[in-house]
């Protein structure tokens, strides 16, 4: 590991200087340690090298899966919030992109394929606000911007996308209140580059040949308080976290054919150690949609089960010990959302 790190440093310096060097070095470090809590840094990590091996355009084959982690409470709450007399429950259109308080979107346009997840912060439920409203609206706004307005796809695009989508939420007549994390990845068809932007504790990993080669950087203010985009009415005497889209951490890197991209909310990261994730993904034989779907379901199910298992030594428990010194055991019951995609050049 050490010699590799030194080598990487030399290469990086030769190529483009300290920025790239830091990136490569840090990514190697992360590979060798399990997920840990970092404080966010505002840096543009651009370490793109032209890849000589990929000449055909690539796209993503994506499977989605997930579970609502609050199955019992939800219907009551929704009824209380939304019911008006003598009328059916008012449904928001396009609620198919929601698992509990998590939301996601997938979109394709001329330039690339986009995936995104957003984890609605559950604390809003106490104030009578449905947490999934914010996350699903944010994801829908992202999707509609990708479908209609995106002109370019470069390392800064996703941060701008997040910013625009967030601003757009303020334009809705019925003010959307709430907060969520956000993690968006986009694969450039021609260049085979994956651009990413992450705000909070949702995230992604890239799996190549049964190893995790890239990972998102988690952003937290303190334990269990991730960075989040929020819109809130003025509530006196409360310290409310409100981070800005500009604080999202962005990276871009090359991907290869048959790389697996897993974008998920913390329901996965807190309940499945890397080994489990790799174990499941490794079961992928042929890169077909059905197989991908099976694995996505498997990952989601395992995360859900682990979450409800009071004896399981979950990554969440391990982190709690590390951060707060408390000795707890068990999973973290939460909504689970999984977007599992594979980079492929085959059509159809």
């Amino acid at each position: 590991m050490q010699s590799l790190a030194i080598c990487a440093r030399l290469v990086a310096r030769a190529v483009s200087g300290t920025e790239a060097e830091n990136f490569l070095y840090n990514s190697l470090l992360r590979l060798s340690t399990s997920s840990s809590i970092h404080h966010s840094q505002q840096s543009n990590r651009l370490a793109i090298t032209p890849s000589p091996t990929i000449t055909r355009s690539v796209h993503l084959l994506t499977a989605t899966s997930g579970y609502n982690g609050h199955e019992d409470e939800e219907d009551e709450d929704k009824g209380h919030l939304r019911k008006k007399k003598n009328s059916p429950k008012i449904q928001r259109t396009n609620r198919s992109n929601v698992y509990g308080d998590d939301a996601f979107f997938t979109a394709k346009n001329r330039l690339g394929d986009f995936l995104g997840v957003a984890d609605g912060v559950g604390g809003w439920r106490e104030h009578g606000i449905d947490p999934s409203l914010f996350s699903s609206s944010l994801m829908e706004a992202c999707k509609s911007l990708v479908d209609n307005k995106l002109i370019d796809l470069n390392p800064l695009t996703l941060k701008e996308l997040l910013s625009k989508a967030y601003k757009q939420l303020l334009e809705e007549k019925q003010c959307i209140i709430g907060s969520s994390t956000a993690c968006i990845v986009a694969l450039h068809h021609e260049k085979s580059i994956l651009h990413t932007a992450n705000l909070g504790d949702s995230g992604f990993v890239i799996i190549r040949k049964n190893a995790i080669v890239h990972r998102s950087q988690e952003q937290q203010h303190y334990f269990n308080s991730p960075f989040q985009l929020s819109i809130h009415p003025e509530m006196k005497g409360q310290r409310l976290i409100a981070d800005r889209p500009e604080q999202a951490s962005i990276t871009s890197f090359n991907v290869e054919e048959n790389d697996c991209i897993l974008v998920a909310t913390d329901g996965i990261w807190d309940n499945l150690p890397d080994s489990t994730i790799l174990e499941e993904v490794n079961k992928l034989a042929e890169p077909t949609l059905d197989n991908l779907q099976q694995i996505a379901h498997a990952l989601a199910k395992r995360a859900l089960d682990n979450g409800h298992d009071p004896k399981f030594n979950s990554p969440f428990a391990k982190n709690a010990k590390k951060a707060l010194g408390i000795n707890i055991i068990g999973g973290k019951p939460d909504d689970v959302t999984v977007l599992l995609a594979i980079v492929t050049s085959k059509c159809g």
Partner: protein, 660 residues
């Protein structure tokens, strides 16, 4: 023709590629929500029905804007009746490819349908200029497709209320009753419109305008005009498809030479001898004729030409109804001859008027011209503005609504105007370099100002502060969607920290800093601000989407609320309970109040408003206030004014109720 071009045709439906021009929109510039671009996607709302961010929405609806003094002031002088022209908004669309033969235009109406007024298709000449040919005008026959797929043919749109609801659909009696009570009737009865109230059943539908056999040339442009003054709430459109046939191999077909059908008109034989009438009676008769009839009448004989086309007949000249037929020739050779006495001129919606013709016309009007309406004139440039200012220095009412082709610099000549009473620059690129001097120069007599959706003002705070500090005569002010930010307090006389002001000024982009400093010193910009008690005539204010802080409205109405008749606080989410109570206490003349998504609105404080504002005729309480239906029903019966409550799209068969 080669064999290829004679292959079969296929029937296709196009989604719009882009919007070329429009008269207004609800959403903010640059945002997707409630905006034009929403029609350029597959239907996203249909078959649900309701208020959706994914639909095209115009800025106004109903009689609410039309019946206010600010609007009346700009239309009062155009007395010649033009009953054929009742369009209020338009949209021009381009489709991705040419359609060889058109079959229908499909308008997906997903909220408050029935306001379609006219449809045109465009013919492109070699230089990209489009001429519009009308293919449908209300109430020509059309058909509607309901969401169960059934198509209903509507012979005459001007139907009785019970006929409007298609027969197979159950009409819920209470809905009709509530329509009668919760009434826009009074407002609408004051307006001339050709639509009924309500214009159509409130269900989602596709309005199909038949085009078969009416368009003898290939086209990919459509223009639709709307008259929504009888609509119950904002009208919303999901998409507008063009269905027709084109060649399967998509090659460009040879354009068919068209012969435009000339309208034949038969003149009635009259036994009365009009030539015997004295001049003043004849003059009076002519003033009742619309312009087209007047022109026709005048062409009957030389005698009538002399009598009818007297320049006094053209003291007010409204060319907006004829926007499509006004040409440079007609201006130079006809109208210019009679405009020596023109005081009120409207060229709104006209297209492609050359600078020479424009100059010729305005030269004739010259110092007499008091009102000039150039709304949606996309041919304007700085030179046109200079002509206006140089030849007509006495202009009092100027309308440059939605003139999107003018850039910020192009407005600068306006600073020479010194008699301005009313200025409408909605959705233009005007900025502080024009507005600050202009406002200051006209501060004594400025009465109406519309700055809605002007997103390039740069120094919004300075402009607003100047307005409130010095324009004592201001009657209506539209600040829709302006980013006024933190200067609210200073507007109403609350002392503020000078360092905040310095911060604010330093954030103005550097390329404007010099101009800003210069203008501020020339105008002696107010630093210490006073209460606005000097604004004794303030009647209409629109703070929609500007988000003032809690307490601002309270102070505003305490100082200047006694003459307020319209207060718009759409999406002003920090407005507090105290603000609303203050409105009830200080605005006895209030007629219209918009509290969309104002969360502090409650049964109690709204009841206060209803009790103490006896002239209230319009109240929008969508979203924020959680008023139970029963209370609303009670209020409708008791207070008999118009309550508006919109709702997001729902897929519900029973939507005849006003409130979901």
């Amino acid at each position: 023709m080669t064999e290829q071009n004679q292959s079969e045709v296929e029937t296709v439906s196009f989604i719009p590629d882009k919007v070329l021009d429009n008269s207004s929109q609800y959403g903010s510039l640059g945002s997707q929500y409630y905006n034009l671009d929403n029609i350029c996607t597959q239907p996203q709302v249909y078959p649900a029905y309701g208020d959706s961010t994914n639909a095209l929405v115009f800025r106004t609806y109903g009689p609410w804007w039309i019946n206010l003094p600010s609007y009346r002031a700009t239309t009062r002088q155009f007395k010649r009746p033009e009953k054929e022209f009742t369009s209020r908004d338009f949209i021009e669309i381009e489709y991705p490819a040419l359609m060889l033969t058109c079959l229908t235009i499909d308008v997906y109406e997903t909220y408050n349908p029935g306001s379609l007024e006219a449809a045109y298709v465009g013919k492109e000449d070699g230089h990209g200029k489009i001429s519009w040919h009308r293919v449908w005008k209300f109430p020509d026959p059309f058909s509607i497709v309901l969401k169960n797929g059934k198509e209903i043919f509507i012979e005459n749109g001007r139907q009785q209320m019970h006929d409007i609801f298609p027969q197979h659909v159950d009409v819920v009696t209470s809905a009709l009753q509530s329509l009668q009570l919760n009434t826009d009737h009074t407002g609408i009865s004051k307006i001339y419109t050709r639509h009924t109230y309500p214009p159509a059943a409130r269900i989602p539908r596709i309005t199909k305008i038949p085009l078969k056999g009416k368009v003898p040339f290939p086209t990919r442009h459509v223009r639709l005009e709307f008259d929504h003054c009888t609509a119950n709430y904002y009208i919303e459109i999901d998409t507008i498809m063009l269905t027709g046939q084109r060649l399967k191999d998509h090659s460009t077909p040879v354009p068919i030479v068209c012969e435009t059908k000339r309208e034949e008109h038969v003149e009635d034989q009259s036994s009365m001898d009009l030539t015997k009438l004295p001049f003043d009676i004849l003059f009076q008769i002519c003033s009742y004729l619309d312009l087209r009839s007047l022109a026709r009448f005048a062409s009957t004989s030389r005698y009538f030409q002399r009598q009818c086309l007297d320049s006094l007949q053209f003291k007010s000249l409204n060319l907006q109804p004829y926007w499509n037929t006004i040409t440079n020739d007609s201006i130079e050779c006809f109208f210019s001859n009679y405009c020596e006495q023109t005081w009120y001129l409207s060229l709104a919606w006209t297209r492609n008027i050359q600078l020479t013709s424009f100059t010729c016309l305005l030269n004739k009007c010259s110092r007499n011209l008091r009102q000039l309406n150039l709304a949606c004139c996309q041919y304007l440039t700085k030179q046109y503005i200079e002509v206006v200012v140089d030849t007509c220095p006495n202009i009092e009412i100027l309308n440059l609504d939605a003139c999107g082709c003018l850039e910020s610099d192009d407005f600068l000549p306006l600073t020479k105007l010194t008699h301005l009473r009313s200025l409408n620059v909605y959705r233009t690129a005007i900025d502080f370099r024009t507005l600050l001097p202009l406002i200051n120069q006209n501060k004594e007599h400025l009465e109406h100002l519309n700055l809605g959706n002007c997103l390039q003002l740069i120094d919004v705070a300075g402009i607003v502060r100047l307005l409130f500090a010095r324009c004592s005569n201001l009657r209506s002010l539209d600040l829709w969607r302006l980013r006024i930010r933190d200067v609210y307090g200073s507007i109403v006389g609350i002392p503020y920290d000078l360092t905040d002001e310095e911060d604010r000024l330093s954030q103005i982009p550097s390329e404007y800093q010099d101009d800003l400093v210069l203008i501020y010193s020339l105008l002696d910009m107010p630093v210490a601000t006073n209460p606005i008690t000097h604004m004794k005539r303030l009647s209409e204010i629109d703070f929609g989407w500007t988000d003032p802080p809690a307490g601002f409205i309270e102070i505003l109405v305490q100082q200047a609320g006694h003459s307020l008749i319209k207060i718009v606080l759409t999406a002003c989410r920090h407005v507090s309970d105290k603000d609303i109570i203050a409105i009830s206490e200080n605005c006895p003349k209030l007629r219209q109040l918009d509290l969309l998504d104002v969360r502090a609105a409650t049964e109690e404080n709204i009841e206060q408003v209803l009790k103490r504002c006896p002239h209230l005729e319009f109240l929008d309480i969508s979203f924020g206030a959680n008023i139970p239906d029963a209370v609303l029903e009670k209020w409708i019966h008791q207070y008999k004014n118009c309550f508006k409550r919109t709702y997001p799209p729902i897929d519900n068969p029973e939507i005849y109720h006003e409130f979901a």
